[in-house]
């Protein structure tokens, strides 16, 4: 059984701001981290490795420094790592990214579709949740989203799976046959820490780097050229002005809240 987990290096978005004068992103001093959702996808991959001896490959698309997230994944127990990297991929939106990653996965798996491809639910920089579904289309395999628990019957290709998928109104148990693409929620098993031995192995491991030629990409489907969506402007979010602010405690505060609600006609007291 071969499991591929896609991981993304993202800026720690809590610190990203817009420079109000130039209207451009201020990335200086913003730390790069593994997309938190992807850590949960990796954990599901590691569990399948523990249980079924699956081979686990991690794939990341990004600049050379994204190798860091791949080494971190290797340290936690992934078997091999692939970085998809080239200037030609620059400016890719979710369509071009989905195509590029799907091509890279096929290349990394010797032209075959792996049994299972896992993504985090979404990446915290873009928050689109579109690349997992997009890759499922390019690979032509079933898609199951928002998964929190994965069970697979032993046997690899053609094996049965049963997963819990969280919808808006409840949880659905979904069954199907591999291969498949799934996106994983944080409500799944907590990510493990890398053992020291893993970190040492990861530091020495080779990371395969693939460019547009290696993955046999059609030049018109990658990068800016392969991206239907264009970002026209960026701007800081509008801030709603605050109202009254008072410093009170205990019963006085309670009274102030009730008075305010009454004044607004929102509740009637007594």
């Amino acid at each position: 059984m071969h499991v591929v987990v896609c991981v993304k290096q993202v800026p720690d978005t809590t610190n990203v701001r817009i420079n109000p004068e130039t209207n451009t992103l201020m990335r200086e001093g913003v730390e790069s981290i593994v997309n938190p959702f992807d850590e949960y996808a990796l954990e599901q991959g590691l569990i399948l490795k523990d249980r079924h001896g699956a081979k686990l490959t991690v794939v990341s698309m990004g600049p050379p420094q994204a190798t860091a997230v791949l080494r971190e994944s290797l340290a936690r127990g992934a078997d091999d790592a692939v970085l998809v990297s080239s200037r030609a991929f620059g400016g890719a939106d979710t369509l071009a990214t989905s195509y590029t990653i799907a091509q890279a996965i096929k290349k990394a798996c010797g032209g075959k579709t792996p049994d299972l491809v896992l993504f985090g639910k979404q990446a915290i920089d873009g928050d689109t949740a579109q690349v997992g579904p997009g890759v499922s289309e390019f690979l032509g395999v079933p898609l199951v989203t928002y998964v929190r628990k994965i069970d697979v019957s032993v046997g690899g290709y053609g094996a049965k799976f049963s997963v819990e998928s969280v919808m808006d109104d409840g949880v659905a148990t979904i069954e199907g046959m591999l291969p498949a693409v799934m996106t994983v929620l944080k409500e799944s098993d907590a990510p493990r820490y890398a053992p020291l031995s893993g970190a040492i192995r990861a530091a020495k491991a080779d990371v395969m780097v693939l460019n547009e030629k290696d993955i046999g990409a059609n030049p018109s489907e990658i990068g800016l050229k392969g991206s239907p969506t264009k970002v026209v402007t960026i701007f800081p979010p509008p801030i709603k002005g605050g109202g009254e602010k008072i410093v009170v405690s205990g019963a006085d505060a309670a009274k102030a809240i009730v008075d305010f609600l009454e004044k607004k006609g929102l509740v009637k007291n007594g």
Binding site: E175, V232, G250
Partner: protein
């Protein structure tokens, strides 16, 4: 050799040589061309010398020189795409609220286009009750495309992708909107890839405007899609100029719904679509509603708690407060991560977007991700002991004080 960035139309060139003088880089010259025109000369460009300044374009009085546009990747016959579609998500024959909000917005976009395009609802299901038609009509659908087939008896991403993609190819909508729900976000993304177009997720503002397409220099009615990115720290406006349909998802409660008059609703027509669909690739074997069945997005009054409540027992007091006010308990991500309550009650970018009349919150500092989720609240009352907490920037009433003291006092006051 690279192609030149300009194109010389030899049928228009009279051989006058004005362009040669107009070029500051010596890239143009007159070549002998007997019989082509009276002077027997035509302009010729040296691609290696041309700096693509395009000074020659206006220098030619005969409009023989034009700028070569880079080849634009895009959908063929883009003009043939019409109408604004709303994906009418339904579960067990009940249309999702967000669909009505989107139909209302689609009417606005139709008015902005002003060219008589139609607002169409697309509904997929099996054994759909007739009540869905009248509901979609009363929120402004001019036309309903209905696919009623046994394969669609429950949501299965792969069959949904097949059905909607077939309809897109057949009817060519210019715009399609869907709710950014668990269903909408997942299968819609795959539809966008299948029909090879752009999709913008979680839009918070949409408008149609006559816009210059910089790739083709043509004025077009384009959908301006605005959405938060980088955890809500940044807003971006995104367009899909050269591909159709232009696809976008919108979270529930971002737009307000409103009905049309019954005369307009009566004009709505339903088209039953018989499609040959793939067999479902996965099967739902069990569906379990959330344990407490709460829908905070629909609540009129929310009483929310965050990290500042320190422990589960303190958070639990909010339940009594919510009962007294006739509302529901909600939580920040910190409170959910701490295990004080479940994910269905989480408000914010990674949780639910809410739009209550009253949002009363305790011990929530108001990270931007949280504020993004409460933008639709009418009245916000915040209690926090940090006078600099960002939540006070949006609160209608801000109380700087100890939430742990104020919650029991407020319960007492309301019990009076």
């Amino acid at each position: 050799m690279a192609d030149a960035p300009i194109l010389i139309d030899v049928k228009k060139c009279v051989g006058c040589g004005k362009c040669v003088k107009g070029c500051g880089f010596g890239a143009l010259s007159m070549a002998d061309a007997p019989g082509v025109n009276k002077l027997g000369k035509v302009a010729e460009v040296d691609p290696a010398a041309c700096k693509a300044c395009f000074a020659c374009v206006p220098a030619c009085p005969f409009k023989a020189i034009s700028q070569v546009k880079a080849e634009v990747n895009g959908t063929e016959n883009i003009e043939s795409y019409k109408d604004i579609w709303v994906f009418a998500e339904q579960t067990d024959g009940r249309v999702a609220e967000v669909v009505l909000e989107l139909l209302t917005k689609a009417r606005e976009l139709k008015a902005q286009r002003g060219d008589g395009c139609k607002v169409c609802a697309v509904i997929l299901g099996s054994g759909l009750p007739p009540s869905v038609d009248s509901e979609l009509a009363s929120y402004g659908a001019d036309k309903i495309y209905k696919v009623d087939a046994p394969e669609l008896s429950e949501y299965e991403a792969n069959v949904y992708v097949d059905a909607l993609s077939q309809l897109v190819v057949k009817h060519k909508p210019e715009v399609i909107l869907a709710g950014a729900t668990a269903i909408g976000r997942a299968f819609f993304a795959r539809v966008a890839v299948r029909v090879r177009t752009g999709l913008t997720a979680d839009c918070t503002a949409l408008k149609v405007e006559n816009t210059l397409n910089k790739d083709t220099d043509v004025m077009q009615m384009l959908l301006h899609q605005t959405r938060p990115a980088f955890g809500g720290n940044i807003m971006a406006t995104i367009m899909t100029p050269n591909h159709r349909p232009q696809m976008a998802t919108v979270r529930p409660k971002v737009f307000k719904k409103s009905e049309v008059d019954s005369a307009s609703a009566a004009k709505c027509e339903t088209i039953a679509e018989a499609l040959k669909l793939i067999a479902p690739m996965t099967k739902i074997v069990k569906r379990e509603p959330f344990a407490d069945g709460v829908d905070i997005a629909a609540a009129e009054i929310l009483v929310a708690g965050g990290r500042g409540l320190k422990k589960a027992e303190n958070f639990a007091q909010l339940q009594r407060l919510a009962e007294l006010l006739g509302g529901e308990v909600a939580a920040s991500r910190a409170a959910v991560d701490a295990g004080w309550t479940g994910i269905p009650r989480q408000v914010g970018q990674t949780g639910r977007t809410v739009a209550p009349r009253i949002y009363l919150c305790f011990g929530i500092s108001g990270a931007i991700q949280h504020l993004e989720g409460i933008r639709g609240a009418d009245t916000i009352i915040a209690v926090n002991n940090d006078p600099n907490a960002p939540i006070f920037g949006v609160a209608d009433l801000g109380i700087v004080g100890d939430a742990l003291e104020i919650i029991p006092a407020l319960i007492k006051e309301l019990e009076k």
